[in-house]
């Protein structure tokens, strides 16, 4: 049996629901890593994957012209540049992410792989030591992007997780997913940067994106992208939180992401493409 609802019941019920739980909060609640914790967890996971590789795995081609050992060398170079940026060195502010680290990548050729692995571990530990007790809101410039230290650490979390999975894919291992507590700062950064991705992809059409990332560590965000407008197009995008992070890392194409869209599908594709625009190799 259905019955006509009394006037005002919908408003009353909606008000009551939002008193017990704000929109956007995911349940069950998960704790959220600090930026340094997120980076530390990603570094630990990356190191564990390196420790699980066989000697032959280190020579597998993985990204660009790099084998696994060369990719780890690239990341040693990134840590060196991060530490220079944290120290205020303007020399790394606008250098290219790949070119700047290519010498470190090439230096690994012929080295014992354990040496490369331990050098990277020590480099990551030095980055963590450099930010401990420091001002996380200080802005540093690295590889063409000015970022607060807290955001830089989360961006590096993305990078370590992405390259960990690059290596795991090359070695035939299953993909790894961050813990929900680590996903929280990652999704927070990714959604905050979405409007900038739109600028990079020339998405000017004003869109109000209701972005729902499902699964532990997900949540719901309302993000304005495109040019400011009092009447933006309304767009709803629902997708899995880990899948969205892979999209943000440019490791999955928008067409390959399992999404539920309400609104203009063309705009949805544009927004999802914008999400990939800030990824670095």
């Amino acid at each position: 049996m259905t019955a006509s609802l009394p006037a005002g019941l919908r408003e009353r019920v909606m008000a009551a629901t939002h008193q017990v739980r704000q929109a956007g909060q995911s349940v069950p609640e998960v704790s959220e890593d600090s930026p340094a914790e997120a980076f530390g967890h990603a570094a630990d996971a990356f190191y564990q994957t390196l420790c699980s590789l066989t000697g032959d795995d280190w020579g597998l081609p993985v990204l660009r012209d790099l084998d696994v050992q060369g990719l780890v060398g690239h990341l040693i170079g990134v840590e060196d540049d991060v530490q220079r940026a944290l120290a205020g060195d303007p020399g790394v502010a606008s250098t290219d992410h790949v070119q700047s680290t290519q010498p470190a990548a090439l230096r690994q050729a012929g080295r014992p792989t354990a040496g490369t692995r331990e050098d990277w571990r020590h480099a990551a530990d030095r980055t963590l030591a450099a930010v401990t007790g420091g001002d996380l809101d200080a802005v540093v410039a690295l590889h063409g992007f000015p970022l607060r230290v807290r955001d830089l650490l989360v961006a590096r979390t993305f990078e370590l997780w992405t390259h960990e999975n690059d290596i795991r894919t090359a070695a035939g291992l299953s993909l790894a997913a961050p813990a929900p507590s680590t996903l929280r700062p990652m999704t927070r950064l990714a959604t905050a940067l979405l409007p900038f991705g739109a600028v990079f992809t020339d998405l000017h059409e004003p869109v109000s994106v209701h972005l729902v990332l499902t699964g532990p560590g997900g949540g719901t965000w309302d993000v304005a992208v495109g040019d400011p407008s009092p009447e933006p197009a309304a767009l709803g995008i629902v997708t899995d939180v880990v899948g969205f992070c892979r999209l943000f890392s440019n490791r999955i194409a928008p067409a390959d992401l399992d999404v539920f869209v309400t609104g203009d599908p063309r705009l949805a594709r544009s927004v999802l493409t914008a999400a990939t625009a800030l990824a670095l190799d």
Binding site: M1, T2, A3, S4, L5, P6, L9, R10, R12, V13, M14, A16, T17, H18, V20, R21, Q22, A23, G24, Q25, S26, V27, P28, H210, V212, L213, T214, G215, G218, G219, T220, G236, V238, T239, D258, V259, F260
Partner: protein
Amino acid sequence: MEPTDPLLAARLAAGDDHALAEVFDHLAPTVYGAALRVLGEGAAAQDVVQDVFVELWSHPDRYDPKAGTLGTYLIVLARHRAVDLVRSELRRLARQERHYRLTPEGPGPTPSDAVTAADTADAVRAAVRLLPDDQRQVVELAYFQGLSYREVALATGIPEGTAKSRLRLALAKLESALDRQLLESP
């Protein structure tokens, strides 16, 4: 990806208030109708609707799409809430009647109490009437006259153990009758 119940559940868990509004618009009339069938009056049924959707929004993970549809889950929630309300009102009414009987010099029920009590009695009376005579008798003696098991046994000429078992059976049937009213809803 289709807007299925599992997807709705995942969206609710992610804090998607649009999903909550969609579920409300689609299923609230059915939830309200189910509550009305049990309670027979609108104010209490509205409370049930609110309780059901607050529960869904607070704990969306308690809904298991593998166990059934979201609509069925919400109707079952509404049934439990409505039956709980009836039981609670039945106990309150019985306590109130015993109180007035024991304090004959008191002021008696207020007009508001009297209206509430009358509404509640109407809502429950139909279910009580469905009971067999012997069971209805023990319910009336125990709840409305406040007799103990021993006193019910003495008044009806049955052993105390039989009085207890009849009362338990009567309450189970009362609940079942209220459930049936809901289940018969289209």
